[in-house]
Amino acid sequence: MLDYVISKYNFWIYVILMMIGLYAMIGKRNLIKKLIGMNIFQSAVILFYVSISVKAGATVPILSGHSYGHGELIEVAKYLNPLPHVLMLTAIVVSIATTGVALATLILIYRRYNTLEEDEILKIRRDTGV
């Protein structure tokens, strides 16, 4: 059982991290905590993709020095897979954008209701009939 976990431990870690984020998004009442949960979830996805690109014994995907590829064949196994890195750059940018807009929305919510607890906001909305 332990060998089974250790052989693919990276995926186990990402699943645990992702479930922490999912629980924070579903189970917490504070909106800031929900947002932090979403960020943890996104981090888990990003780490998962980056770990897919790993090849044992390979280096970062930057050609160095003399091996500038003039006619000579570049050994694929010597460099990490660059595509997940590129896609995760895009994903990081999108996550920054969503986090920024969500924080701005939370500021507006706080100005209007003076609280960030979800149940209190819902109670105020019910009581005032808005």
Partner: protein, 94 residues
């Protein structure tokens, strides 16, 4: 409510753990992700784009329209933040 959330999270986690079984091992050079299209990028990026850094070659040359759209995303997010947080003028509705 918390119990429902916890049950949902554990069931989703169990499903994902079940899926882990089919994933390639750590650092496997023949994993599906690094055996179909990515060798082509590694071998041809320098020749086609004259950029030694493959990540920036893919980001700014092969997928430059994607990066353009990405800057549009950041621009939209910044405009949205400005519109939400600016001080309202007098007489303007909530």
């Amino acid at each position: 409510m918390k119990l429902v959330a916890l049950i949902t999270v554990f069931m989703t986690g169990a499903l994902l753990i079940y899926g882990v079984e089919d994933m390639p091992g750590w650092g496997d050079p023949n994993s599906p992700a690094s055996s179909h299209v990515s060798p082509r990028y590694i071998q041809e990026a320098m020749e086609k784009t004259a950029t030694p850094n493959m990540v920036s070659a893919v980001l700014a040359d092969y997928r430059s329209y994607d990066t353009l759209g990405e800057t549009a995303v950041i621009f939209t997010a910044g405009i949205a933040c400005i519109l939400m947080l600016r001080k309202k003028r007098k007489g303007e509705g909530e």
